[in-house]
Symmetry: C2
């Protein structure tokens, strides 16, 4: 779990990324920046900063920040009850993000998994997203993503988001937001 100082630094840095991307947030949104360390307590390698604009039964939209070389770990969005799993489009707004999905393995990928977590990364089809570029993931597709050297700001457009149903390859992961 993050301590207060780590959380506050991540929030401050994330706000700076949003500002550089000219993304305007309300004061309320700024006060609700979510910092996820996925229970691994290693946010420099594995973590995600985000603000959720809207999350209804049908539609969700978020704005996310990855710091340089920070990784959102491999997971998928399974069917929930009779509803298909989450469908999501990632659109890079600033910086660069490498997205890895199930499929043909990319030779010489740009990224390496977080040190010590290598065995939990199995999807190796690489998609490079630069500002203005996007990719749509359909339900239940294994995926993970890592920012380039300058970090990244990424918009997500999706169906309803319910983190508790996500299935991570790394069974040590607990997806609980850190808001201290």
């Amino acid at each position: 779990m993050l301590n207060r100082q780590e959380y506050q630094k991540a929030v401050k840095d994330a706000l700076s990324y949003f500002e550089k991307a000219a993304i305007v947030l309300t004061e309320e949104e700024k006060s609700k920046i979510e910092v996820a360390d996925f229970g691994l307590n290693d946010i420099k390698q594995t973590g995600l900063q985000l603000v959720t604009y809207i999350n209804t039964d049908r539609v969700c939209s978020k704005e996310m920040v990855l710091f340089p070389k920070q990784t959102c770990p491999e997971h998928r969005h399974p069917q929930r009850g009779g509803t298909p799993g989450k469908e999501e489009t990632f659109r890079c707004r600033r910086g660069k993000v490498y997205l890895y999905v199930e499929g043909d393995r990319t030779e010489n990928p740009h990224c390496r998994p977080p040190v010590g977590s290598e065995k939990y990364y199995t999807a190796w089809k690489e998609i490079e997203l630069n500002p203005g570029e996007q990719y749509t993931l359909y339900p239940n597709t294994l995926h993970w993503f890592q920012a380039g050297e300058e970090g990244a700001v990424i918009s997500e457009f999706s169906t309803n988001s319910e983190d508790s149903s996500d299935i991570f390859t790394d069974d040590r992961i607990k997806r609980a937001p850190e808001v201290l």
Copy 2:
């Protein structure tokens, strides 16, 4: 219908608005900017410029430009077959937009309908959206919106979008994209 010159000017101006809002588009997206004049041939008063990022069966996301005092005319999104109508969240990114929805009439609203079309505007509950502010419209809610004096850039996060099912209060309107 717009002539080529009007269409090209609207696209050029819309691209300038996106650039000022630091919204990065691919060359392909720039070449597919949609200019809607709603068949009224009066784009200065009634029109909308937009780019659609994604529109699947479940999720849609668009980026829209309204020029100063330009109006997107009153309409609603009805149920389609067994599916509820379109749900949409408008988020102001730059400038100012006044959104009018069904409900208690706002005294002294900031906007007037396009001249000559007054009778087709019946929703008068005003919501002012400045950068970072947003509003969610649930299905079948009558609504229209008009930019302030400096125009507006607005993100839309929604369920599937199918313009042909929209019901406009103004029965002269034909919602066909103008891409000349």
